[in-house]
């Protein structure tokens, strides 16, 4: 009787975790959130992402400092005189938060052009775990009333390292704590 109950309890715990993991599949969504532009970014390992890259595909990019060759164009005729513009590249975080990795214009200014290309250098701090799940990176640009927003999924190459092991150990320890919460108290 008790053995059956214990097996059922383990079944509930296992089933809960399985359901949690099974429900993780992100719904397919458009990679171009707001249209009106095109662009690409090419990393040193040969990975190229464009505005038509599916969001469901996760691309591994170099985990160390890298130079990214980029191009970008907003679907507008060239301006006759300088006009204000703004944009950024951000990483989506939980709870609707985001971390801005780069923004423009720096320094503040105006432009006549509707396209740009060049090389952007980035550095990844050592504490950022590698080989993780996807990071949704969003590029946003606004100019002359036209807004463009494109998202791609990227992940840093490499293995997660000690942080993942610490997380796994913590999960196991507190999972056992949840199991211990299911042990009967002794009444006297």
């Amino acid at each position: 009787m008790f053995r059956r109950k214990r097996l059922a309890a383990f079944g509930v715990l296992g089933g809960t975790v399985t359901l949690m993991v099974a429900s993780l599949a992100a719904p397919a969504s458009a990679e171009v959130i707001q249209s009106g532009c095109s662009g690409s970014a090419t990393f040193s390992n040969g990975v190229t992402v464009t505005e038509s890259t599916p969001l469901s595909e996760v691309f591994e990019v170099p985990d160390k400092d890298d130079n990214v060759m980029y191009t970008g164009m907003i679907n507008l005729p060239p301006a006759d005189e300088p006009e204000p513009f703004s944009g950024d590249v951000s990483v989506r975080l939980p709870l609707g938060q985001s971390w801005v990795a780069a923004n423009w214009p720096v320094p503040p200014g105006e432009t006549e052009s509707v396209s740009d290309s060049g090389t952007y250098s980035y550095e990844v701090p050592g504490f950022v775990p590698r080989g993780t799940g996807g990071l949704e990176v969003t590029a946003f640009h606004q100019q002359r009333g036209v807004t463009c927003e494109v998202a791609v999924s990227l992940a840093l190459a490499g293995s997660p390292g000690p942080a993942a092991l610490v997380g796994t150990a913590g999960t196991i320890v507190f999972g056992l704590g949840v199991g211990a919460a299911g042990s009967r108290r002794r009444f006297t």
Binding site: T16, V17, M20, R92, G131, G133, F174, G182
Partner: protein
């Protein structure tokens, strides 16, 4: 509640808190996944359910413990004295 609800709440919360980033670091879920904040809440519920259900350990009560040990109760002793 037959189990340990406080332990269940704390352990369940911490279990979910560790599980989300662990799944992310092993590449199972993306960083922006809503599960990052849902899992700690689910963990609390799971801990409370486990504490309520209490499937581990033996059922113990004073009466059954005495019956199993075969010891006499104070009432039995009084009856014996009267006889």
């Amino acid at each position: 509640m037959k189990g340990r609800p406080i332990l269940g709440i704390i352990s369940g919360f911490m279990f979910g808190l560790f599980l989300g980033p662990t799944l992310f670091m092993w590449g199972v879920i993306p960083l922006h996944s809503e599960l990052m904040w849902i899992l700690p809440l689910l963990g609390i519920v799971l801990g409370l359910v486990m504490a309520w259900w209490a499937p581990f350990g033996r059922k113990t009560s004073t009466a059954s413990a005495e019956a199993m040990s075969g010891q006499s109760t104070p009432a039995d002793n009084d009856q014996a004295d009267n006889a």
